[in-house]
């Protein structure tokens, strides 16, 4: 598989055809994987993922590669940056397509609720749990992830996840026993 390490970023941004081809070879699997996930999450047809992925590539090179120029190699790897950017582009693409092809009344509520970013508030006093503890509980209980998945997501070992969960639950139990 092609690697992002082989890409000469200045040459890519300058419009080099050879660099673009290398970039496509490395990026296509990531972007297509993102597109597959987004399309599946919104009940789209599987072959729609290619169109969604193609639209991501179009956006990357539009306006003299304006989006691509926002990548800062000092802050993140290109693969991770691309996965996040591609996911946002893919969601936008599906939103536009749905708005074009169907009136809002025809769209199921779950599909229409694209990126409605709201903050869920827990009835947990501020500072009782650390941010990491709250996130671990959220992933385990709300997202139904197992310990290995949480560990992979947080880039820690499974024992750390177990330990974090244990400490978080101790704090919660202790706090609510006191309050009760």
């Amino acid at each position: 598989m092609a690697s992002f390490d082989d890409i000469d970023l200045p040459a890519l941004l300058a419009g080099g055809k050879r660099e673009w081809d290398r970039f496509v070879a490395a990026a296509a699997p990531v972007i297509h994987a993102v597109a597959r996930r987004v399309v599946a999450a919104h009940n789209g047809a599987a072959d729609e993922a290619v169109d969604v992925a193609q639209d991501v590539f179009v956006r990357l090179c539009a306006d003299d590669r304006r989006l691509l120029r926002t990548y800062d190699p000092a802050r993140a790897s290109m693969g991770t940056w691309l996965a996040v950017v591609a996911r946002s582009c893919a969601v936008d693409h599906l939103r536009r397509r749905r708005q074009t092809h169907a009136s809002l009344d025809e769209v199921p509520e779950s599909a229409a609720a694209f990126e409605d970013r709201h903050v869920e508030r827990l009835n947990v006093p501020a500072g009782l749990l650390t941010e990491r503890q709250a996130l671990v509980l959220k992933l385990l209980y709300d997202r139904d992830m197992d310990v290995a998945e949480v560990a992979a997501f947080l880039k820690v070992d499974a024992q750390t996840v177990r330990s974090t969960h244990h400490k978080a639950m101790l704090r919660l139990r202790e706090h609510f026993r006191i309050e009760a």
């Binding site: 673009w20 296509a28 193609q54 802050r75 993140a76 903050v119 869920e120 990491r132 209980y141």
Partner: protein, 177 residues
Amino acid sequence: MSELDPIGTEKDQALWARLKAGAPANDDARLPAVADEDLVAWLDGRLGPDAAARVEARLAADPQLLNLALDATGALREAATPAPERLVTRARALVGFEAERAAPAGRLLGWFPRWRRGFEIAAVTGAFLVVCATGFSLGGGFQEAYANNGSVEITDFVTATLGDSDLGFLVEQGSQP
């Protein structure tokens, strides 16, 4: 919680559900938004402890941001699967033409793109004129055409010698002998 690797107890789950169902204890729980750049840096483990804690707090509270992060990491795991060839072909074609069009010209031709349209019109016009001139030359040109125009007579088209009966016929038809 997953059945594959159980953790916690039913009481733990019940407590978590109770916490979610309750009214927010902290009305001032508004969390600062996380920029995509910060999320990407967090996913790569490149943030310091304080910045990482801010991202994690937001991830715990913002389901859509958490979806984004989970999708991105999941896609990176699945990226070992090759993309369809038609996607690669179409994506490569996006820059080929553009790169050729924007290929760096030399100093002498650096101004060429600005005058490109004018050159195109001039070239088409020139080609049109060349075709007209060539066709006209093959047809003999104005000079020869005019030279012949004034001296055409009926006898030019009659190669046989006219007899009396022929002349009589022509006179009957109204022609001048």
